[in-house]
Symmetry: C2
Subunit: 192 residues, 2 copies
DNA sequence: TATACTTCTTAACATTTATCAAAGGGAAAT
DNA sequence: ATTTCCCTTTGATAAATGTTAAGAAGTATA
């Protein structure tokens, strides 16, 4: 049932015991979403962290009536409106299934329980937060230091799965340009 | 000697014991930097986390021969080239004292020791990483969703200390525009 | 199949921001 | 007091990106 997420945890924490794992496993729930469904809506507090067993998700928000995609995640990744989850404040973003998805869910209360009862999960929380920090930090640098064209090239080189699964107009807003401009960038890059 | 950082830790972890604190305290070292000094240089691995007891620091990097400031930090803040510290890879950024500074330092090895020996510090590492994530996440959103003018307004409202301590051309690169353009933004905002 | 719908492309034009150059102002040094 | 240096402002021009509108290509739906 939980092979993928189990492998994920044991890879991250090789010394995790079966007892510790079971304390987690018995708190996991499974949710199925179909394409287009919302897992978290802007304005709600996010009460879960999700492990993507299968499917493909995105974060997006509406600004001035326009959709702006802010992240894409596929199978075997952890995902959450983590700032909302941590601060217990309403989420700024929507989390949506771009393809049918099976998620394994852990609630905020259960996670706090695990933190308290099993110190090893403090380490898990630390490593997750560290990875998220590293990831967001890279994204900030890309937005501050690279041109839209360079950001698109980065995606081609490092996130080709996203390119294949996501319509171009979502990509455009993720890169920080209009769909029309991304189209021009692609044309300009054709020769290479 | 270590009142400030001590208060910081106990505020973050009210149940910290004296024994746990002392294990940390005896591993702290003090370093003094004068205005202009580099604490971490681009290309070096960052081996310390720093607590700013006094002074003012910035991160910056050189791109195409131009300086771009990527962060400013003042007293009673934690600071580190944290992605380099975590990944043990060379830092992408320079960390520099903009004013004379006294830093309290903890090495990577000592931190790993504390993580292993005192589980409470796993929680500390988690909370630090979580705070960093929330902070960088906000910055990403500002860069993706706000205009340069709005980003400058944000700094006026939320980081006025930075405005007072940092020359305008450093601010400009932090906001993501040229110094000339920031000057025009300021002119345009004069009326309000 | 026909129709509607969504996405992508293209073009003309508008706006924002960068670049380059020069001048002004203030602080530190002589 | 004068000079020098660094920072900021200003102006003219150029480059990058957004906006609007239209059409093309592909896909789902009746």
């Amino acid at each position: 049932m939980f092979q993928n997420i189990r492998a994920y945890y044991f890879r991250l924490m090789p010394h995790l015991t079966e007892a510790e794992w079971q304390a987690l496993e018995e708190r996991l729930t499974i949710k199925i979403y179909i394409k287009g469904d919302h897992i978290v809506k802007q304005g709600e507090v996010c009460n879960q962290v999700y492990f993507i067993n299968s499917g493909f998700l995105r974060f997006y928000k509406i600004i001035d009536g326009k959709e702006i995609s802010t992240g894409f995640m596929g199978a075997n990744q952890y995902v959450s409106s983590y700032d909302s989850f941590l601060t217990r404040k309403p989420a700024f973003e929507n989390l949506q299934a771009l393809e049918d998805a099976e998620l394994h869910c852990l609630s905020y209360d259960d996670m706090q329980f695990l933190y308290k009862q099993y110190p090893v999960y403090q380490m898990f929380g630390r490593v997750i937060a560290e990875q998220l920090f590293i990831w967001v930090n890279e994204r900030t640098n890309a937005l501050l230091l690279l041109s839209p064209e360079q950001r698109y090239e980065n995606m081609i080189n490092n996130q080709s799965e996203v390119l294949q699964r996501v319509p171009q107009y979502m990509l455009a807003s993720y890169i920080g340009v209009t769909p029309e401009h991304l189209s021009r960038i692609r044309k300009k890059m054709m020769g290479r």
